[in-house]
């Protein structure tokens, strides 16, 4: 028996596929099969596998095709929604980074005003009466618009950050 097989193997396989083996085949071929190990093995295996296939096919407990169709549609829809959601998630992350950068810049620009605040607190005498004007820092009077910007910016950052966290958790 060689790797290429017997030249009459195809003939034997055709007969087997059509169900003509062994009744409807020539005596010549039957005699050949008796002597040819390759063809004999082909017949043995093909008959065993075909029988096993028929038996297993009848034992199959099939699911309704409608269920599979529905599951496939559902999966395609989920994949599509995920595909749509991917750029949105990217935009959310980008917005978060932009806001963080803005917050850092804002805090850095206001840090020097913080030094004035510290100086003002240090300059305050505990014996002095506490008037509302005394709480108003002199530094702020010169650049009062800084605080007016800082508070709304920080409030916006906090609000948007909260909204982002909420949206991200909602998605998950």
């Amino acid at each position: 028996m060689t790797l290429s097989g017997c030249p009459r193997e195809r003939e034997v396989l055709d007969l087997l596929a059509r169900g003509h083996w062994p009744q409807a085949c020539s005596t010549d071929l039957r005699a050949h099969v008796d002597d040819c190990r390759s063809c004999a093995e082909q017949i043995l295996l093909t008959e065993a596998f075909q029988h096993a296939r028929a038996e297993a096919s009848s034992a199959a407990n099939l699911t309704s095709p409608a269920v599979l169709w529905w599951r496939a549609q559902l999966r395609r829809r989920n994949e599509a929604v995920e595909r749509v959601g991917r750029p949105i998630l990217g935009a959310q992350i980008f917005a978060l980074f932009v806001m963080l950068a803005m917050a850092i810049v804002c805090v850095a620009s206001q840090a020097r005003h913080g030094q004035r605040w510290m100086a003002w607190f240090a300059a305050m005498q505990p014996s002095e009466p506490l008037h509302i004007q005394a709480l108003w820092p002199s530094g702020l009077l010169s650049s009062g618009w800084n605080l007016m910007i800082l508070i709304p910016v920080l409030a916006t950052v906090v609000l948007l950050g909260g909204a982002l966290v909420y949206l991200a958790s909602e998605k998950q």
Binding site: M1, L3, G5, L13, A17, E41, L44, L45, T46, A48, F49, Q50, H51, A52, R53, E55, A56, S57, S58, A59, A60, N61, L62, T63, P65, A66, L68, W69, R71, A72, Q73, R75, R76, R77, E79, A80, V81, R83, V84
Partner: protein
């Protein structure tokens, strides 16, 4: 209102592909009726596990239907569609074998034990089953595809992802081995009788 109309641009990149897809639910039902039993037989006999065959068969069809690219049913007819389905099932089987085994005794279905104890009821299962169990999974796949499904070397290569010349050699060796086992089993059965 369908979800495609709600998300109209989801398939903007592959709109012609979806539009050309001819397989509707009725066509699929027909295709399923013709191909499901052979596919289940392949999965059940190659894996030796009917519950696994059920799961993998369903997953094969779902993957077939939700495939991103154009399915062979579009251009190659039902023969190509079947081959594509067998390829999906073969890949799923391979993935299953690669996964680490974690099954406990409680997770094994009762039918598994029933099938094992009643194995002598069926001739083909009694003879072919133990012989197949002694082969490597890849050899079982190749033998089933060649002898039960009647696929050519080229088609088996396409399904399994192996090279066609390798299939010839692997099939030759697997055939020799299982033929020897089957003959041995037949001789043992005759002597027992």
């Amino acid at each position: 209102m369908s979800w495609e109309s709600i998300l109209p641009n989801v398939f903007a990149g592959d709109a012609p592909r979806v539009a050309e897809r001819p397989m509707d639910s009725d066509a699929f039902a027909g295709f399923y009726e013709r191909s499901a039993r052979p596919l289940w037989a392949y999965l059940a006999r190659v894996s030796g596990d009917q519950a696994l065959a059920d799961d993998l068969m369903q997953e094969s069809y779902v993957r077939y239907l939700s495939a991103a690219g154009p399915t062979p049913a579009l251009d190659g007819g039902e023969v190509a569609a079947r081959r594509y389905l067998f390829r999906i099932a073969t890949n799923l089987l391979r993935d299953h074998w690669r996964r680490p085994k974690q099954a406990s005794i409680e997770e094994i279905p009762e039918e598994f034990f029933a099938a094992a104890s009643n194995s002598a009821q069926s001739d083909s299962r009694a003879i072919l089953g133990p012989a197949l169990a002694q082969l490597r999974p890849r050899d079982r796949q190749i033998l089933w595809l060649a002898h039960a499904e009647g696929y050519s070397h080229r088609e088996i290569a396409e399904i399994t992802g192996l090279a066609s010349p390798s299939i010839r050699l692997l099939l030759f060796r697997a055939r020799r081995k299982i033929a020897r086992l089957l003959k041995l089993k037949q001789i043992t059965q005759r002597s027992d009788a």
